[in-house]
C-alpha cells in the first residue's frame, strides 16, 4: 500500500535522500522550492551531513553541484524553469565535461504561468545540451526516476535533466519508498583528471564522446521502464503522451481501456523505433504534451514522410497554457463537459502586497518623489514587490528577469532617461543584481537603486536571504560612494523624511543606493509564532 503522502517536489527530495544524496543546491523558485526545503527540514539529512543551504543563484548552485559530482558524490540541483536560463552556461557545459558522481538537474516548468513570467519548456535545454531527460507522470514515477536518474548519470557519466511541471510539483499523492536507503558515495575523483578541463583540444574530444553516447541514450530510451508502447485495436489514431499528460488521457476513459495504441514517454531522447512503430501502424498521430510542442515538431520533422501529426501546432490542442482532461477530451473528439457559468459579478482577486508590508511605504514614498517628473522611469525586478505594478500603486514599469532592474535602469539612463530608478529586493540583488551594480558604478551612471531589504526571500515563502546583513558592505565593496548609500525606515511616520532623502539622491548625478529596511511582515509573524511556541515549550 501507499506509505507516504507527498507533493511531487517532496517525492523527488525523499528519493534523492534514499538514493545516497550528498548535497542539494538551489535558489528558491516556485514551483521548485519545496524540494530543497524538504531536505533542509529532514532529520535524516542533518544526521547524514547532506548539504542543503541555499545558493545565491541557480548558476552558483549548478556549479557547486558540478564540483560535488567531480568529487564523486551524488548531487541534485533544483530550480524553476527560468532558473535554468541563469544556470544555462554551466548546465550546457556540464554535458561536455560529463559527470563523475551522479548529478540530477531538476527544472520545474510552469505552463499557464501560475507564478512565472513565461512558460518555457526545459526539455529544449535538455535537447540542446544533448543530455537525457526524465519526465515523470506522477509522484511515484518522480520518486522512481530519481533513483534511475542517479544510476544512469553514473553509468553513462552524464548529467541527467528531470523536467517537472507545477501540477506535478504541487500535487500530493501516495508514494512507495524503496526498502533500503543507499549509502552516500565515498570521495572519489574522476579517473581522468583532465575530464573537467574544457580547453578546446579536450572539449573537442569530450564533445565527440557526448555525440557517440547520444546513440546510447536513444538505445536506453527504447528499453526504458518509463517509455511504454501499449497496443490498442483502433489504428486510425496513435497517441503519444508525455509525462503528466498521460493522466489526462486516462481520465477520459473511466474503465482505463484505451481504444488506440498509446506511446507513453517518460524518458528522452525520444525512443525512435517505438515512434516508427506507431507511424507504421497508425493513420494519424496525436501528440499530447504539456509545455511546448517539442515532440510534435520532432516527429513531424524527422519522419519526413507526410504522416499526419496532430497536437498543439495544428490547433487540435491549444498552442499555449497547461493541459487538462477537458482539452484532451476535445482533442480525442469526445464531448466536453462544463458546469454552470461563472456569474458576471465575480470579479478577479489578484494577489496583493500584505497589509503592513514595508514595500507599500517604500512605493508611496517613491511615487511621491517622482510625481513631479514624467512617468515611466522605474525599472523593477522579481519578487513580492513586482505586485507594485498593480493598483493602487502602479509604481513600476518593468519586470523581466532576476537583476534586470539595475541594468535596465542603467541602459535607459545611458539613453538619456535621467533620473532612472531601479527597484530590487535584497535576495534578488545578491542573485543577479551585484554585477549590474558594478557596471553602473564603473560608468558613474546617474541612477538611483532602491534595494528593498525585508531580510528574506519573501515571495517563495521566506527563505534565508544570502545577502542578509551584508547589503551596505556589498554596495561599498562594488564602489558605491558611502555618502550615497542611504538606509531608510519604510514606515508611514517617516514618509516625509524618506521622500526628502529620495529627492536628494535622485538629484545626484551618479550611482545612489537607497535601502529601505524593514522585516517582511509575514516573516515577523512566523518568527513570533516560533518564539511563542518555544517559550511555551520551555515552561
Amino acid at each position: 500500500m501507499q506509505n507516504l503522502l507527498l507533493l511531487g517536489d517532496e517525492a523527488i527530495a525523499q528519493a534523492a535522500m534514499d538514493a545516497g544524496l550528498s548535497g542539494i543546491y538551489a535558489y528558491p523558485g516556485t514551483p521548485s522550492t519545496e524540494i530543497t526545503e524538504y531536505v533542509q527540514n529532514s532529520r535524516f539529512a542533518a544526521e547524514n551531513n547532506i548539504h542543503s543551504t541555499w545558493s545565491a543563484n541557480e548558476k552558483t548552485a549548478m556549479e557547486s553541484a558540478l564540483g560535488m559530482s567531480y568529487a564523486g558524490k551524488r548531487t541534485m540541483v533544483c530550480m524553476k524553469h527560468v532558473g535554468l536560463n541563469v544556470a544555462a552556461d554551466p548546465f550546457i557545459n556540464s554535458a561536455i565535461t560529463g559527470a563523475n558522481g551522479g548529478i540530477l538537474v531538476v527544472s520545474a516548468d510552469d505552463p499557464s504561468m501560475h507564478s512565472s513570467q513565461n512558460e518555457q519548456d526545459s526539455r529544449f535545454y535538455g535537447k540542446f545540451a544533448l543530455v537525457p531527460i526524465l519526465e515523470p507522470r506522477d509522484q511515484q514515477e518522480a520518486y522512481d526516476m530519481v533513483h534511475y536518474g542517479f544510476d544512469f548519470s553514473e553509468t553513462h557519466k552524464v548529467p541527467v535533466l528531470m523536467r517537472i511541471t507545477t501540477r506535478m510539483a504541487h500535487s500530493r499523492s501516495g508514494v512507495k519508498r524503496i526498502n533500503k536507503v543507499r549509502k552516500q558515495n565515498e570521495l572519489k575523483l574522476p579517473s581522468d583528471l583532465r575530464q573537467f578541463v574544457l580547453l578546446p583540444s579536450i572539449a573537442r574530444k569530450r564533445y565527440k564522446n557526448l555525440l557517440r553516447d547520444h546513440a546510447l541514450f536513444i538505445a536506453e530510451s527504447e528499453i526504458s521502464p518509463f517509455n511504454k508502447y501499449m497496443d490498442g485495436p483502433d489504428k486510425s489514431l496513435g497517441i503519444i503522451v508525455c509525462g503528466i499528460s498521460y493522466n489526462y488521457l486516462l481520465e477520459n476513459y473511466t474503465d482505463r481501456k484505451l481504444p488506440n495504441p498509446v506511446l507513453k514517454i517518460g524518458q528522452y531522447p525520444m525512443p525512435r523505433t517505438l515512434v516508427e512503430k506507431m507511424a507504421d501502424e497508425c493513420d494519424e498521430i496525436l501528440v499530447i504534451e504539456d509545455g511546448y510542442p517539442i515532440v510534435e515538431e520532432l516527429i513531424k520533422g524527422y519522419l519526413g514522410r507526410g504522416l499526419k501529426v496532430k497536437g498543439r501546432l495544428d490547433g487540435t490542442l491549444p498552442r499555449d497554457g497547461e493541459l487538462n482532461p477537458n482539452l484532451v477530451a476535445v482533442a480525442l473528439g469526445k464531448p466536453d463537459t462544463i458546469g454552470l457559468p461563472v456569474p458576471d459579478l465575480v470579479v478577479s482577486r489578484p494577489p496583493s502586497l500584505c497589509s503592513g508590508c514595508p514595500h507599500i511605504d517604500s512605493y508611496y514614498a517613491l511615487s511621491e518623489t517622482l510625481s513631479a517628473l514624467s512617468n515611466g522611469r522605474v525599472f523593477s525586478d522579481i519578487g513580492c514587490y513586482t505586485l507594485g505594478a498593480l493598483k493602487p500603486y502602479e509604481a513600476i514599469n518593468s519586470c523581466v528577469d532576476m537583476g534586470a532592474s539595475i541594468t535596465m535602469a542603467k541602459g535607459a539612463a545611458d539613453a538619456g532617461l535621467i533620473p532612472a530608478v531601479a527597484v530590487i529586493g535584497d535576495s534578488t540583488f545578491t542573485h543577479s543584481g551585484m554585477t549590474g551594480l558594478l557596471d553602473a558604478v564603473n560608468d558613474k551612471s546617474p541612477i538611483t537603486i532602491m534595494i528593498l531589504d525585508n531580510g528574506t526571500t519573501a515571495m517563495t515563502g521566506g527563505q534565508k536571504s544570502p545577502g542578509f546583513g551584508k547589503i551596505e558592505d556589498i554596495c561599498k565593496g562594488l564602489g558605491v560612494e558611502e555618502a550615497h548609500i542611504r538606509v531608510l525606515k519604510p514606515l508611514k511616520k517617516y514618509h516625509e523624511e524618506n521622500v526628502a532623502i529620495m529627492k536628494e539622491e535622485l538629484d545626484y548625478q551618479g550611482v545612489s543606493v537607497l535601502i529601505p529596511r524593514r522585516e517582511c511582515i509575514v516573516a515577523i509573524d512566523k518568527r513570533m509564532r516560533e518564539k511563542f511556541k518555544n517559550k511555551k515549550a520551555a515552561h
Binding site: 500535487s171 463537459t337 494577489p351
Partner: protein, 193 residues
C-alpha cells in the same frame, strides 16, 4: 466511492487544512488521493483553489475535469462562485457567507447570495458565527468542513479521528474546539437538507 472536491478561498485563509483532514480520513480508509495545491504568488491574498480527489480506485488526473466536481467547498462566498464550471449537475456548493473583502470592487454581498441561491444544491452558512459559538472564530474552516461532511460518504467518526490527528500537536483544547466546530457545521447541514 469517489469524490472530486474543489476547495476555494483567498490566499492565507488556510483551505489546505480542510484538504489535509479529508485527505487523512480517506487514506485511513485505504483510499487513493490526489491533491493539487497552490503555492507562490497567488498566496498573497489572491484567489486560491485546490483540487482534492479521493477514490477507492486509482486516480488518473491531478485536475478535476470541468463539470465533474461533486462539491465546491468554499471558505468565502465570492470564491464559491468562481469555480462553478467545475461543478457537476448533481454537485453541491458548501460555502461560508462571510466576505473576505480585500479588493476595491468587491460585489454587493446580497447579489452574491442571490447567485449562490441559484445553484441547485447549496449549503450557505456563517462559519465565523457558528465557530464563535463553538468556542472560537479560529475554527471557522472546521465548521465549513463539518457542513460538507454529510456529502463525503464517509462515516462521521472517521472525520473526527482525522481532526484529532491533524491537530494532535496543538493540545487537547484545540482538538475539542475543532470537534465542536465540526459537529456544529455537520448539524447545520443536516438541519437544512
Amino acid at each position: 466511492m469517489k469524490k472530486d472536491i474543489i476547495l476555494a478561498g483567498v490566499g492565507g485563509q488556510g483551505i489546505i487544512s480542510i484538504a489535509s483532514i479529508i485527505g487523512f480520513a480517506a487514506l485511513e480508509q485505504g483510499m487513493f488521493l490526489k491533491q493539487s495545491e497552490v503555492h507562490g504568488m497567488s498566496q498573497r491574498g489572491g484567489d486560491v483553489m485546490s483540487n482534492l480527489r479521493i477514490s477507492k480506485n486509482e486516480i488518473a488526473s491531478d485536475l478535476i475535469p470541468f463539470g465533474k466536481a461533486d462539491m465546491i467547498i468554499s471558505v468565502e462566498p465570492l470564491e464559491s462562485l468562481r469555480y462553478l464550471p467545475y461543478l457537476s449537475s448533481e454537485g453541491w456548493v458548501i460555502t461560508n457567507i462571510r466576505p473576505f473583502n480585500n479588493i476595491p470592487d468587491y460585489p454587493d454581498i446580497d447579489k452574491i447570495m442571490d447567485e449562490i441561491s441559484k445553484v441547485p444544491h447549496h449549503i450557505a452558512l456563517d462559519a465565523e458565527a457558528i465557530a464563535k459559538e463553538a468556542g472560537s472564530v479560529k475554527a471557522a474552516n472546521t465548521v465549513i468542513l463539518g457542513a460538507a461532511a454529510p456529502f463525503l460518504d464517509m462515516a462521521y467518526g472517521k472525520l473526527e479521528e482525522a481532526v484529532k490527528f491533524i491537530f494532535r500537536k496543538k493540545g487537547e483544547k484545540i482538538i475539542e474546539l475543532n470537534l465542536r466546530a465540526l459537529k456544529a457545521g455537520y448539524d447545520f447541514t443536516n438541519q437544512h437538507l
